[in-house]
């Protein structure tokens, strides 16, 4: 891109070179036809996005060392019945009793220490997610604050660690089962059964090369919080004496039950925080009850914060073992509303037809895809894009990704709620065998997962679009930006024939620096963007107010800030020639840089953002000019501009998307606030993108539209 721009500026210099080099000429041609090129590129970019489900490849296991399913399962019915005994003991405790939680923990710890493994408790305070606008650029632990919160609420995880008998203990595999110790839930008990069955088997086997950690995460304050705080304590030990003293005093002062429990179990349970080696992979296991299913299904959740994905090999292994060994149906979340869209089906039919025609012309061209496959792929892809773009982890596995550990959540849902013990045992057996197989595969790993992709979008559990494919569509979409910026810049800074004075005057006219004033405007608007994105932090401190009130305060403060800025920087001089071209050129360059940055940080956000911002920026032209022109073309452009700038306003865009998905029924102004709050609470880069790239560029586009040239 940069080269093109360079060439372009070279083209702008007076033609003392009669014949420029071919590459320069190519650049000149591209820039002089920037309109055509941008229309073609943008269309191609959008088309490429819709072709992605067709271009998806089947997954394959890239790392040879994994060897999934090559060993036969060793899990026996004894393990299952033992696990079921534990589950019964846990559920039989009276849930109403105040110390049921403590009792359950003790039962679990008892069972674990009977297996001969190390058991430990991990106390934690659920952290309120805090606003760290610059979290992304700093290291993960720098934003961490160990303040002394109230000691009233805390959770206790139970951790069991199997030391690999013949290994040096430098690596570990983590199993996580969220469990609410205070409540009785049959599905959570089922997941404990599965976990325990696997764990008891693993405590006996000889082939372990990595330690196994089983974390029964106390989910009363949310599954994510407990796992995240355990991981933080695992990776960031506290050396300072003062802070650990604080934490201890907190627990000692407030809970006598805990002390009693510790004194009871002192013989078996270590009091310190137990660690194993670096984590090779982590599996989060959940069992849910979903009504109306035809068979036992396994849903895979992989998205971590900021659209990060675990290595594809991990998903591949799970998918391979679940489908080919245990006969489970593997699902990935998809947008059900996409399935209802008529035009997607029509598009699928068309693509199917084209594929068939191409196949009949030359049997080697096999890019056809059946219509249902295409629609399913699109729905999954749309969900994959949306989840990554949100930047909010889809489960407790997200906490692992912050420490570079590959993790996924496996959500197993049985066909029916089993009442028959035999059927129930069979279900546990299948699930546990799946986990055992995955653990055994990961156990074979020599290095961290590195062979397969980290950057991909899923279109089905067994199909993916890799970074090399989806980047093409994105690159096509943003390619016109530098071209158009260059051509506008050339137009705006053309040497004016009238101003060419007599030759002997030393003219220092600073013409090539004319873009500076435009850059100043753009910078001011972006500074306003920073102000707007920092505002919610202060607004959220206001006590006793609803999200709707928050959003109204936010909106009015932002508008007020913009007005003040406008009044301060308003120039009274007559608009100069080429002013709006320069402004548009700088705006487009900034959008280009912003989108490029965002595509590295979080591709999905950049892709969705580009779909909106690219046409908005490219089409923007002062309405005055179009009205003066009064042709069909300019009328069309006005219509497009008005429509796009309406939709590109973030709240409007949010409500339109929501309406398309869930119907335009009840809309609440506060919803937008809640949505954004969730974004910043999770440190999503998307929030920064909206505040510092999208919103300022939208304002600049509006400014260009209303420019008085």
């Amino acid at each position: 891109m940069a080269e093109v721009e360079k060439k372009e500026v070279a083209a702008a210099t007076p033609p003392w070179k009669p014949k420029p080099r071919p590459i320069v000429r190519l650049g000149i041609v591209l820039i002089s036809h920037s309109l055509l090129v941008s229309v073609v590129c943008c269309t191609a970019g959008v088309v490429a996005l819709f072709l992605l489900p067709m271009l998806a490849k089947n997954t394959y296991i890239s790392e040879n060392a994994l060897m999934p399913g090559s060993a036969s399962s060793m899990l026996s019915n004894d393990d299952i019945s033992e696990a079921e005994r534990l589950a019964k003991d846990l559920t039989s405790l009276n849930s109403g009793a105040a110390d049921a939680g403590i009792e359950r923990r003790r039962v679990l710890a008892k069972y674990l220490s009977d297996l001969g493994v190390e058991v430990g408790y991990h106390k934690f305070e659920p952290h309120q997610n805090q606003f760290h606008p610059l979290h992304f650029f700093s290291s993960p632990d720098s934003g961490l604050s160990r303040e002394n919160g109230s000691c009233s609420s805390y959770g206790i995880n139970v951790v069991g660690i199997i030391r690999a008998p013949q290994a040096d203990g430098k690596e570990a595999i983590v199993l996580v089962t969220p469990f609410n110790f205070r409540k009785n839930s049959s599905s959570e008990a089922l997941s404990i059964s599965i976990g325990y069955a696997v764990f008891s088997l693993l405590s006996r086997v000889t082939w372990l090369a990595k330690d196994i950690i089983w974390l029964v995460a106390d989910s009363q304050y949310g599954e994510y919080a407990s796992v995240a705080s355990w991981l933080r304590d695992y990776h960031i030990p506290v050396f300072s004496a003062s802070s650990s003293h604080n934490a201890d005093s907190c627990f000692e002062g407030n809970n006598i039950n805990l002390l009693r429990e510790e004194s009871l179990d002192r013989t078996e349970i270590s009091s310190g925080f137990r660690r194993a080696g670096t984590m090779a992979a982590a599996l989060v296991l959940k069992v849910t009850d979903v009504k109306g299913q035809l068979e036992d299904t396994l849903s895979v959740y992989a998205e971590a914060s900021n659209g990060q994905m675990p290595n594809l090999d991990l998903i591949n292994v799970v998918n391979y073992l679940a489908v080919h060994r245990q006969g489970l149906r593997v699902k990935v979340e998809k947008f059900l509303s996409v399935l209802r869209w008529e035009w997607i089906w029509v598009l699928g039919d068309t693509l199917n037809f084209i594929g068939k025609v191409a196949g009949s012309l030359n049997p080697e061209w096999k890019f056809g895809i059946s219509t249902p496959d295409y629609v399913e792929g699109t729905a999954t892809l749309a969900n994959s894009l949306y989840r990554q773009a949100l930047g909010i982890p889809t489960g407790p596995h997200g906490a692992f990704r912050d420490f570079q550990v590959d993790a996924i959540t496996l959500e197993i849902s049985p066909k029916v709620v089993y009442t028959n013990q035999g059927r129930r045992n069979e279900f546990i057996l299948r699930s546990a065998r799946l986990i055992e197989g995955v653990v055994r595969s990961v156990n074979n790993l020599l290095e961290k997962f590195h062979q397969s992709f980290f950057l991909y979008l899923l279109t089905s559990p067994a199909k993916f679009v890799s970074v090399g494919v989806y980047m093409i569509g994105f690159a096509l979409l943003v390619a016109p930006l530098p071209l158009v910026a260059a051509s506008l810049y050339v137009d705006a800074n053309k040497p004016d024939p009238s101003s060419q004075g007599p030759k002997h005057k030393l003219q220092i006219n600073f013409k090539p620096w004319k873009w500076l004033s435009a850059a100043k405007q753009v910078f001011t608007v972006h500074a306003w963007g920073v102000f707007v994105s920092l505002l919610p932090y202060f607004i959220s401190q206001i006590p006793n107010s609803t999200p709707a009130a928050h959003s109204i305060i936010w909106f009015s403060l932002s508008t007020f800030g913009l007005l003040v800025l406008y009044l301060i920087t308003k120039s009274h001089s007559k608009p100069q020639k080429g002013e709006w071209e320069n402004l548009k050129s700088v705006t487009i360059s900034v959008v280009f840089i912003g989108l490029l940055l965002m595509s590295v940080v979080n591709f999905a956000t950049a892709q969705i953002g580009a779909l909106v911002l690219v046409p908005a920026c490219l089409l923007a032209q002062p309405l005055k000019l179009d009205i003066r022109d009064a042709s069909l073309k300019s009328f069309l452009r006005i219509a497009c501009n008005v429509f796009i700038s309406f939709v590109a306003f973030p709240p409007v865009g949010f409500f339109v998307l929501k309406g398309v998905n869930e119907g335009f029924g009840d809309m609440d102004v506060g919803e937008f606030w809640t949505w954004l709050e969730s974004l910043w609470a999770w440190n999503s880069a998307t929030y920064i993108y909206i505040g510092m790239v999208h919103l300022p560029c939208w304002v600049l586009c509006l400014h260009i539209l209303l420019h008085s040239c």
Partner: protein
Amino acid sequence: MATANTEEEKSKSEQQKNHGGGGGFTRWAVLAVIFRLILIYFPGNLNLSSRPEVSTPLTSIRRLAEGYWLKQSSMSPYAGSMYHGSPLLLSVLGPLTVKRTILTYSVANAELKGSLVTFYADLISGILIRATGWKLQMTYRKSLKSLNLLNKSTDSGGLSSGDIAALVYLWNPFTIVACVGLSTSPVENLFTILTLYGAATGIAPLAAFGWVMATHLSLYPAILIIPVILLLGYGPDAPPSKLFRSKENGKVGDDTSSQDIIFSWGRVLHLLVWTSMWSVYVLVLCSISVKQHSSLQEMFQRTYGFILTVEDLSPNIGVLWYFFAEVFDFFRDFFLIVFHSNILFMILPLAIRLKHRPCFLAFVYIAISSMLKSYPSVGDPALYLGLLGLFLDELADMQFSFFLFCGYVGVSLLSPVMHNLWIWRGTGNANFYYATAMAYACFQIVLVVESVSSMLNHDRKLMKLSASKLQK
């Protein structure tokens, strides 16, 4: 002396004339100062001092604290390959980094004091740049006047180039980051600027002191001796001497001139004497400082040797670390010579071509060395971008300014993201980060090439204009 006085008066009258512009300058400069103070006292969680862009092995103040600690505990400050700076810096800045009480308090305190040092260094640098700018502009005006090329429209602008250069230096995000991020590069930059200021105003002892200190602190300013000699010999930047000669003779291209621009050997000799005196002085100070636990030889090995042999391969914004991480060991010496002589090769041709513009020559040298140096940090672009502002009048027709601006903005945003992707997320690798380093190097090359070519174009333009005037 008399000429200096008249020039000073002139500059004063100039200052009064541009009072509005001067007010603007003061306002913005004070704002820059306040902005820095705010950043220093509210450092937030940016963690700037651990960024690879800010703290290289040479400029990190944390390493300096480590060296100071070693020295305090009766060891060589260079033990353990942590500290690679000057022992003098250790004596001056070291006490500021000391930890007195408990951990958290002392670190904050030390950081605060350290940032105040860099803060003052930045402030003085800004003032010196402004003074240099005044001097340069005076000379420029004078030479234009003597060529009858000065027209009134040129001095109607708001701020003079010196003011703009100082503001560019003070408001440059790179400078601010280097200042707040506790790196010693503001101090190094201060001495480089001091050299240029001393040379431009003809104060040989000051120039010699600045040069000796800058060379002592970071080695690369050593090549500035050529611009400094030229500055003292010929005086500040002026159009090519050919022009004046032709004006004298009333005809272009007549080489039989009687009066040439005189190269004042006296001042150069003066400079050389002072340089040797300062060097001896600094060396004596160093040897006193290190003699207890170490030796001068070790100092040279651990500072200059460390710079020249590229021992530390931790990533930075330069291009050498990656290359020397990849290169086979038996080629290492060869490539070390190749890379370092890259800078040396460019000295002579540039000095010949730009000898009439020594300040600009210094800018080009600084830009080239910051591109090819072994441990570059953001302090280096901060310096040369600030100096670039000094030549605003001459470089007004510079091409690609917008392109370069976008490039610098893009690279400086992309580089931390790529680093994050590689180090913290683990989804990228070293190539991602190195790609931004290469892009950055390319932009610097474009900047140097474009600025030199537009400076030469400016000279050609002057030549053409004066020729057309003479023909009339």
